[in-house]
Symmetry: C2
Subunit: 196 residues, 2 copies
């Protein structure tokens, strides 16, 4: 038969279910979250929080961007947001190669479109990408606040690190930025973040 | 502060990460899949297979439908597709109550829209819903074919059961139906499905 289903892509992306993050799931602080279930959660987060976007966004595009954003981790692994030892240039190069390999399993037109969408997310210049990045920052905050500090507390992360990381919110969703700042102060007061 | 983030909804849906299905992940036939990572996978499946839809569909709507479709399992549990002992009427009632409780945690307008979208999926009448249902059927087939029969082999499922379950494909994506039929015959020949 001549049908050329991109089966290899569909099976290959399944491996994202075996990439584990530093964040635990909100429903069980002892169970680390994988990047596939994270990608599902964040896609719905964007749908729910879209009304808070300061600039006009295309929520369907943002959703697809978020469904794809972590696929490169299949080859390049998940890097902990607050790991200062990571060689960011090497990691970016590794992720670019991963994107080319994975999206290269798709029909040419879709391969091109999805690579461009992933790059747009990485570059974080467009309103859609900035809002998507903001979602990727605020979801772990919500989970950590629910889990007595979660990955922040386990790795002794500081207030200034989390403030810097959530900065996308300030411009793309100011009301969420206000929320994040309040939550961060609360986390410091509880000892889940260091005060520096 | 007056911001009324639907935090309760965002934390509540996290529980879908603890609802396990009968299907194993393609990357590890010993690890059962949860409904959150399944929902992520199926949303991307729909994006990839949308060109096979026989009727015009709105792929963004289908994607959101699939991101939401299993949320009711948080209260109602996952029922195995080939379990003939399930009281379907009672299960439907349970799922409807779950939808009302969960979507009821959202702002009123979104609660109404998402409940309607979930009901549209369940009723499987619209082109969008039929294609979404077809995706929900063909993904476990792809996974089981990769995993030496997977949940079919473990539960001694028959060819006729899988053919009946994949029937949505026949009308919504005939080329995928042809693919499914071929895969099903292959599974019978390998002893992964019984021949009845």
């Amino acid at each position: 038969m001549s049908l050329t289903l991109p089966l290899e892509f569909l099976l290959e992306i399944d491996k994202l279910k075996a990439v584990y993050r530093q964040t635990t799931v909100a429903c069980d602080n002892n169970r680390f979250e994988n990047s596939a279930e994270h990608s599902w959660h964040i896609a719905l987060l964007a749908q729910v929080l879209a009304p808070y976007a300061e600039q006009p966004i295309d929520v369907s595009r943002v959703t697809l961007m978020l469904l794809l954003h972590d696929l490169v981790e299949i080859d390049a692994g998940d890097t902990f947001a607050f790991d200062t030892q990571v060689d960011m240039a090497a990691q970016s190069q590794h992720e670019l190669q991963a994107a080319q390999r994975l999206f290269g399993l798709l029909p040419a037109k879709q391969a091109q479109a999805w690579t461009a969408l992933w790059q747009e997310f990485e570059q974080a210049q467009s309103a859609d990408a900035q809002f998507a990045k903001a979602m990727d920052r605020v979801l772990p905050l919500i989970q950590n606040m629910h889990n007595q500090g979660g990955s922040w507390a386990r790795h002794r992360v500081s207030r200034s690190q989390v403030l810097a990381r959530n900065r996308y919110l300030e411009y793309s969703a100011p009301k969420l930025w206000q929320f994040a700042c309040e939550q961060i102060e609360l986390a410091v007061s509880k000892g889940w973040l260091t005060a520096e």
